[in-house]
């Protein structure tokens, strides 16, 4: 792909004119410098909108519509060839932007895969079959004889998902179970002796897995090329654009303390009561009550406290003191101190870990004995109501919050809680626990003239 400065319109003879590009290789197109940036921004709007939708717990049908709307609004072009070009170019530009760290790659991979999945589904069945063969999926269609012998079990699987096995659906593919991990994980297929029996409408999963796997490898390669040659070569032209594109869309970085300087260990109890979001309050209460937290909880709360401004020494003192009734000082130093220092970037790879965003916290499922994750998502109704009341949320507001929860809008629920507790509105919405904390402190400071 060649980027040019001139005003000449781009043209090429070899553009792949399939409706859904696979982004296998950078096409031989010429791109204007402005388009390089603008196309990427438009695509980023789609991906960011997708990300937002997932975060707010939208149901599959809602997501379907959302993706369609976002695509129409940002990527449509009256001429099919131009639309395909923009599609391909914007994808490859964003690869440069998002290949550079593990976290960026993970996000981009996740969003592009989701986008691909939806676009695949809304294609015609011929288009789908064509794409399947492009992916070289040599899966065997199940013979009639075998189908008859398995019909009962296949029907059972369908009914377990609230579907029926119509005659038209009697086309099944037999694939090794490893090829369809999503379907296996959700128990959406019948498996026997290592083979999964995949319905035609589940073929999407097959295709998407391949897409994802390919893109994942491509991103690593792109990163290598970027680091070794492109970044330097393009330092006066493309590199500044690429670097700006990324930071302008990922939101504030909560790993650096901004306005409030430090929080010391004696302040924690107080600010926990006034300014912690529910997820962190719960973890904080639990560690005080149980004198222990499992790994997931220690990570979520520990990184949050780091973002709040707790220095390493205070953090070590805090956890050590809380664990003291159950863990001797020697054992603490041996088993827990290392991980805390690791979180602050003082050990091992020396990565300075950033506190988890709401998106990340909502996505985890706490297991037995765990207290992390998003309480709006995981608490039973009874427990959640009680917790909100303890936070000082009025019964009217509790109903509003529960309404959001029932509709799986967990971040909106947290935002409403914030508004109820602080008596002021939060227009931006809560996207990050540290944002909750900072906003809370800001509100309290403006009320009292001092940090609470």
């Amino acid at each position: 792909m060649e980027v040019v400065q001139s005003q000449r319109k781009s043209s090429s003879n070899n553009v792949i004119v399939s409706i859904l590009p696979l982004y296998r290789s950078a096409p031989p197109l010429e791109v204007r410098l402005e388009d390089f940036e603008f196309f990427a921004i438009d695509r980023l709007r789609v991906l960011k909108g997708l990300s937002d939708g997932l975060c707010r717990g939208k149901k599959p049908e809602e997501m379907e519509k959302l993706v369609l709307d976002l695509w129409k609004a940002n990527m449509r072009h009256p001429q099919a060839v131009e639309e395909v070009n923009k599609d391909i170019i914007s994808h490859f530009v964003l690869r440069l932007v998002y290949c550079r760290t593990e976290e960026l790659r993970k996000w981009f991979l996740s969003m592009e895969t989701t986008l691909f999945r939806h676009r695949f589904r809304w294609g015609s069945s011929e288009a789908q079959r064509a794409l399947m063969s492009e992916f070289k999926l040599p899966y065997k269609a199940v013979s009639n004889a075998e189908f008859e012998s398995l019909k009962d079990k296949l029907g059972q699987v369908a009914r377990s998902m609230g579907q029926t096995l119509a005659a038209a659906d009697a086309i099944f593919y037999k694939v090794p179970f490893e090829e369809v991990p999503d379907l296996v994980a959700g128990r959406r297929v019948f498996i026997h002796k290592g083979h999964a029996y995949v319905a035609i409408n589940q073929v999407v999963s097959l295709v998407v897995t391949q897409f994802r796997s390919y893109l994942s490898k491509a991103l690593i390669l792109t990163n290598r090329k970027w680091t070794s040659t492109i970044r330097e070569q393009e330092k006066d032209r493309l590199t500044p654009i690429v670097e700006a594109l990324c930071t302008s869309y990922l939101g504030p970085d909560y790993s650096q303390q901004q306005e409030f300087g430090e929080i010391s260990i004696k302040d924690i109890d107080q600010v926990a009561k006034t300014s912690f979001p529910l997820c962190m309050r719960h973890l904080f209460e639990k560690v005080k009550e149980d004198h222990h937290l499992k790994h997931g909880g220690r990570m979520q709360l520990g990184l949050f406290l780091k973002g709040v401004g707790l220095k390493l020494d205070d953090a070590l003192a805090f956890w050590k003191a809380e664990f003291a009734p159950k863990v001797s000082a020697e054992r603490f130093d041996k088993e827990y101190a290392y991980n805390i220092r690791h979180n602050y970037g003082r050990e091992g790879k020396r990565t300075d870990y950033t506190p988890y965003s709401c998106q990340k916290i909502i996505s985890v499922t706490p297991g037995i004995g765990d207290h992390h994750g998003c309480p709006y998502r995981h608490f039973s109704e009874e427990n959640l109501r009680a917790a909100l009341v303890r936070m000082g949320v009025s019964s009217r507001a509790v109903e509003d919050v529960m309404d959001k929860v029932h509709n799986r809008h967990y971040q909106l629920a947290c935002t409403l809680t914030f508004e109820a507790v602080h008596g002021s509105s939060c227009d931006a919405g809560i996207n990050h626990p540290n944002q909750y904390f900072i906003d809370s402190q800001r509100v309290l400071q403006s009320k009292n003239g001092s940090v609470a």
Partner: protein, 451 residues
């Protein structure tokens, strides 16, 4: 055994005190372990297992394979050393005998010898990475504390052990019938649970994502003390895997064993927990009313738990119940009390370390012996041989010149024999075939390329 001899760590034991000739006091310590590793721990079998047929006898063997496996040792003072690797059975055996680890963990096979990992870390290309690892499962009975009343925490007894039996049956059947795996080793963890090692080549080469998918396939119990409904079985019918588990294992165990032995419906506190799981308040109240009236009366000689369970089933499964949530309620209750609770994290990642079979558990002194899944009903954790018991048995046998197969004179003999015939031999046979086939295929390929 006199104190001096124990301190000298000599292998042979001299009978010293008549009458108490062979008695070995209960316990777990370095001296006992030294003898255990010296005479009883099956080093050669572990080596053969971990080599997966790469013994150098066939040109297709990968001679570096065993040397790329990570072991970790936990030594006496909680000192933990990772990334141990060995190039031969002798190295492995000598290191174990010399270091006398209180616990041995097995990690993955890496792309290069773990001892050389730092050399490869410099290039920053992630060249030091796991390439093979058994598919493993860890089931711990303390994760069932909310559904067993006989014990809590680290304790285990014959009333609650059936929960582990259930887990073995459900998972083992699925691994074989659904996933097509054949080489599966179940091991007692030494105190309160079981481990499962799936050793087929296909299993060893699974990616993290695929392992997570299998773990999720088995994942039914979701939630912790903060969430209410932990088992949710939506849909008109159950997935064939769940249905089979229910009819072949869960229902039977629940009704015949757990219900009466744990007295799940005998007292108000206990039956309330079950009534809470019924989404229809009027049904729950009806049962509550009946049971409160019935507190003292027992018209039949049948166990009160079973009587009440029949009443519950009869109301919930009667044709009158139209409410959606009630359809699966009986199954949900049974699943809550019986369905296996896996530690998901253990299975998901290739680099998760897991305790080696035939280790001795420091807190109980019991050996981590294999469990036969076809006979797991018979397994009794309270009669698993302990370290001191084995040493006593060795004592009774007296001095022996040949140091081979000492386990045969002890209770451990049975376990080693089972390990060999039911697991190791079939596994190695299969591995050899795989190596041969792969080698022949490569030969054919290069012939094709040349021609």
């Amino acid at each position: 055994m006199t104190k001096e001899e124990a301190d000298n760590g000599r292998d042979d034991m001299v009978i010293d005190v008549p009458g108490q000739a062979n008695a070995v006091p209960d316990g777990f310590n370095a001296n006992y372990l030294r003898i255990y590793y010296g005479k009883l721990f099956p080093h050669a079998d572990m080596f053969k297992w971990m080599s997966y047929g790469n013994d150098g006898k066939h040109p297709g063997c990968d001679k570096s394979y065993f040397g790329r496996r990570e072991f970790s040792f936990t030594l006496e003072n909680d000192i933990y050393i990772r990334f141990q690797s060995f190039n031969s059975v002798t190295e492995l055996e000598n290191s174990i005998k010399e270091k006398c680890p209180f616990k041995i963990d097995i990690g993955p096979v890496y792309s290069v010898d773990p001892a050389k990992r730092h050399a490869y870390a410099q290039s920053g290309n992630n060249v030091f990475t796991p390439v093979e690892r058994e598919l493993v499962f860890d089931i711990d009975i303390s994760d069932y504390d909310d559904v067993r009343y006989c014990c809590t925490g680290a304790d285990v007894c014959l009333e609650c052990w059936p929960l582990m039996t259930i887990a073995i049956k459900v998972i083992d059947t699925s691994l074989r019938d659904d996933f097509g795996f054949n080489h599966i080793l179940w091991v007692y963890s030494g105190r309160r649970g079981v481990h499962c090692w799936v050793c087929d080549g296909k299993a060893r080469r699974l990616t993290n994502e695929q392992r997570a998918a299998i773990a999720d396939y088995f994942h039914v119990y979701k939630g912790n003390e903060n969430s209410q409904k932990k088992i949710s079985l939506p849909g008109l019918v159950l997935h064939p895997f769940l249905a089979r588990s229910y009819t072949e294992v869960l229902k039977g165990f629940f009704e015949a064993k757990l219900l009466p032995n744990q007295n799940l419906l005998a007292s108000e506190e206990r039956y309330e927990k079950i009534l809470e799981m019924i989404p229809d308040a009027s049904v729950a109240s009806e049962l509550r009313r009946r049971w409160q009236e019935n507190k003292r009366a027992s018209m039949s000689k049948d166990d009160i738990n079973i009587v009440r369970w029949e009443q519950l089933k009869s109301i919930l499964q009667s044709g009158k119940q139209k409410m959606q949530g009630l359809r699966r309620c009986v199954e949900e209750i049974v699943f809550s009390y019986t369905y296996p609770r896996l530690d998901m994290e253990v299975s998901r990642h290739m680099n998760h370390l897991l305790k080696a079979p035939f280790c001795v558990h420091p807190k109980t002194g019991r050996v981590c012996v294999p469990i036969d899944p076809n006979n797991c009903d018979e397994f009794d954790p309270t009669t698993v041989p302990t370290l001191s018991q084995l040493l006593e048995e060795l004592n009774r046998g007296g001095l022996r010149q040949d140091a081979e197969n000492e386990w045969d004179r002890t209770s451990l003999g049975e376990s080693v024999a089972f390990f060999r015939t039911s697991f190791l031999q079939p596994l190695l046979k299969s591995c050899k075939e795989e190596i041969e086939n792969s080698y022949n295929a490569k030969l054919q390929q290069s012939k094709n390329d040349l021609s």
